[in-house]
């Protein structure tokens, strides 16, 4: 054990160097290489260790290969027959034992981390419990302790453990926020998964679906928004106020109820067959992928995003299950009206 520990120590400077190099890779809110929380840190630590070990192995192999290929190339006129060596027990033991040691060096922390990742926080009083449900191609988040349901944007209080329970309503999906934690599959009822992570810093993190789930699998994204404790409470409170805000124009309100609330919900109205729309005006994105941040070049004003979506959902996310509002009997003007209403439906 003493020996392996020394090997680890010798690898540390290398690890640090590598860390620096990799840290340049990717966006802070998205990259595995720039972990933003303990769960992602745990994976990252193992990745650093394994990459370091593997780089050492590669260097050895490459060096021997280069040496052999240069030193022992056949030269013109070289006709004598090289000695036919059978092998060497010593050498072979050497390259059996060294890899074994390296494997042990990696296996011990791996096993520790596996059990750490398996810790169940679902009975932890301080953890926020969230039930994640995957749907083709959107995400539903239910805060079971608060009886609040939302979609696409997962709001969490900074620093708190979030205890997830994951399930799918249709095919398999996989819930992944690279900068916060590794992924876990959403299986159908009966094979429900649990895991947890926390985000020590405020910010918006990008989440993705990592299991092929149909045509729009690649577009099944979501955001995790970590906010202060007070802000989180405020958000929960306004989500809980049972009054639904409906379009001011009563005719439009009727249309909205008839065409949209048969699947969606706002406040206490409608049902959760499709993403819950309560306070959608405050969301980070529409459909998980149309970014509402118009200060960025890939973002657009929320109203515009809503119009893009409502005028043709299929072109935004092929194969998604929302009917085209036009087929539900809405005119272009009514669609624009609903887009405007939803854009302004903010939580205070």
């Amino acid at each position: 054990m003493m020996k392996t520990w020394q090997a680890v120590k010798r690898l540390l400077p290398m690890t640090a160097m590598f860390g620096l190099f990799l840290a340049g890779c990717g966006r802070e809110d998205l990259s595995v290489l720039r972990p933003q929380g303990p769960a992602a840190d745990r994976s990252y630590g193992l990745m650093e260790l394994s990459i370091s070990i593997m780089i050492v192995v590669l260097l050895i192999v490459f060096t021997i290969a280069a040496y052999v290929l240069i030193r022992f190339r056949r030269r013109p006129g070289q006709n004598e027959i090289p000695e036919q060596v059978e092998g060497s027990i010593k050498l072979e033991i050497l390259w059996t034992v060294i890899p074994l040691i390296l494997v042990v060096v990696l296996a011990v922390p791996t096993v520790k981390a596996v059990f750490a990742a398996g810790d169940d926080h679902s009975n932890d009083k301080n953890a926020i419990k969230v039930k994640v449900t995957g749907h083709q191609y959107w995400w539903e988040f239910e805060y079971t302790d608060y009886k609040v349901t939302t979609a696409q944007d997962l709001i969490i209080p900074v620093g708190k453990d979030i205890a997830f329970e994951l399930e799918t309503k249709d095919v398999l999906h996989s819930f992944w926020v690279p900068s916060l934690s590794g992924k876990i599959d959403t299986n159908p009822a009966g094979t429900i998964n649990r895991f947890s992570f926390s985000a020590p810093n405020e910010g918006v993190y990008r989440g993705k679906c990592a299991e092929l789930c149909g045509p729009s699998h690649g577009l099944m994204e979501f955001k995790v928004k970590s906010v202060s404790e007070q802000e989180f409470q405020k958000w929960i409170d306004s989500m809980k106020t049972p009054v639904a805000v409906l379009p001011e124009d009563p005719a439009l309100a009727e249309k909205f109820k008839a065409a949209c609330l048969t699947c969606h919900a706002v406040g206490d109205q409608g049902i959760n067959n499709a993403p819950n729309l309560t306070g959608i005006g405050s969301r980070e994105s529409i459909a998980g992928i149309l970014l509402n941040d118009d200060t960025r070049e890939d973002g657009a004003p929320i109203e515009e995003n809503l119009k893009t979506w409502l005028h043709d959902p299929q072109s935004v996310k092929p194969g998604n299950l929302m009917p085209n509002p036009k087929d539900l009997g809405l005119s272009d003007a009514e669609i624009d009206g609903i887009a405007e209403y939803l854009a302004n439906y903010k939580l205070d």
């Binding site: 890779c25 990717g26 966006r27 998205l30 595995v32 745990r42 990252y44 193992l46 990745m47 990459i51 070990i53 590669l58 192999v61 052999v68 290929l69 022992f72 190339r73 056949r74 030269r75 027959i81 090289p82 000695e83 036919q84 060596v85 059978e86 060497s88 050498l91 072979e92 890899p99 494997v103 791996t110 096993v111 596996v114 059990f115 990742a117 398996g118 249709d170 095919v171 398999l172 996989s174 590794g182 992924k183 876990i184 599959d185 299986n187 009822a189 094979t191 998964n193 990008r206 993705k208 092929l212 789930c213 149909g214 699998h217 690649g218 577009l219 992928i289 070049e297 890939d298 092929p318």
Partner: protein, 615 residues
Amino acid sequence: MDWLTTVDHKKIAILYLWAGGLFFGIGGIEALLIRWQLIKPMNNFLDAQTFNELITMHGTTMIFLGVMPVIFALMNAVIPLQIGARDVAFPFLNALGFWTFLFGGILLNLSWVMGGAPDAGWTAYTPLSTSTYSTTHGVDFYTIGLQIAGLGTLIGGINFLATIITMRAPGMTYMRMPMFAWTTFITSAIILFAFPAITVGLVLLTFDRILGANFFEVGAGGSPVLWQHIFWIFGHPEVYILILPAFGIISEVIPTFSRKRLFGYSSMVFATILIAFLGFMVWAHHMFTTGLGPVANALFSVSTMLIAVPTGIKIFNWLFTMWGGQVRFTTPNLFAVGFIPTFTMGGVTGVMLASAPADFQFHDTYFVVAHFHYVIVGGLVLGLFAGLHYWWPKMFGRMLSEKLGKWTFWTFIIGFHLTFFVQHFLGLMGMQRRVFTYLPNQQFDFLNLVSTIGAGLMGVGMIIFLVNILLTSRKPADASNDPWEDGRTLEWTIPSPPPEYNFKQTPLIRGIDAFWKEKVAGNKGMTPAEPVGSIHMPSATILPFTMSIGIFIAGLGFMFSRDEFGNAFMSFLFNNYIVTAIGLIITFGSMLMRSLYDDHGWHIEPEELEGSERT
């Protein structure tokens, strides 16, 4: 016609080669289309559905139909020669294996023109692959096509097992067998144990889809995770079915062109067996994120890492085979030498993936895409290139052009690293796999562009290879028995291409690297183990071909048995299983003929042997 009825292992090898080339080409075009779609963010060159069909067919085609037959081609061409046999143990079955494989592959690819290719990924995870979510016939083509093709593979595997166990020349003990024969032997054993698993899985899924069974239907008590276990219990060993033959090829090519015997032969044999054994113990490492729990994850993590040990033994043994030798950089050896570092890189990322908590991040991202292409393309395909260039003169009597061969090597390997090295980083930066497009501004754009350019370069390498084949085929077939001059094994003792009966007299084996041993002792050829006598040959027959056609028809009939056709006659034929029945009658009829009519084969008499031979 000759080709439809042949039972000669050398001709079947060539059939496998062309079939493999065809499917490999299809899979390659699919890969290029996939890469073209991903060249920039939000590209709309392909739509999402077509893209999913392409990734599914690309993966399925490459694994089952692209590289497998090329492996089988080399095995068929070389194994009987290497062990000093006149043919394989069951020539009839050999032909049958090829034809079922080919018709299975054709059936699968018909899906492109018959209403939709499979779209649930090559792993066909349920419930996405059930009829609820995959509504075209695509996945039916997948299950039935692979079932038929798998039958061929299983037959082939059993045949090689029997051949190697029973048909080695006198004196060729197991521990004198060439490495390629060893890896073929072990590979065939893996086939024997792994393919039944996928066979069962495919049957269950077919029943779910066509007959409305509920093996994987959650609402009816079925389990979607069950499919994953069945699939990977087959799927992981399958990876070793692919890579072990490449190990074998490398172990032949490197000693030849280093003029040294393989370093640590017995540890190589032992490592091969160990890898095969461990290959069956690690399937759940594909399922770390499925939620198996920490105990399973820990066990499968550690057992997976252990594979690094025997693999490491192999790498170092190859390096030390060259140590002190005289290395020649012929085309086959370039590929073999290129294989070592490339495959090592695939191996080390494999160990990284084995660490379950790290895999929670790697899984289903481009990191994994990079890893398995390093293993399969950087390992197996480079190995196959080495083997093809190496044995081409033996198979066809013509040397491929060394100059074009070197061009192939450099364009292919540079293109390969450009394509797949950057994908490690794409995965780590948050790009999932199997995505038909990606949003801009995620820092994915540049690396994807590089990757696509690399793929184009690999395509160029392939084209140069084809040109090489074409030009070579127009040259006279004048390769000598031992065209590389340093051949060590039995295949180099007989003419290129070998006569129908391979060995006029079965050789006597006096040690490992039998031919080399004789050469060093100053002998021109092998000492015969028997006097010249009449040689018994199997007769050509069309029956394997008709049997396979029958299965093919039955498969199509079964697949469409529930369809409404616009045409009453068609509906009648299919819905009453008449087409299925016709197919089965053809197959069983052929079997009946085979059993009723006793064919004793024919003989080549000694006088004919003398007449045809000069060396």
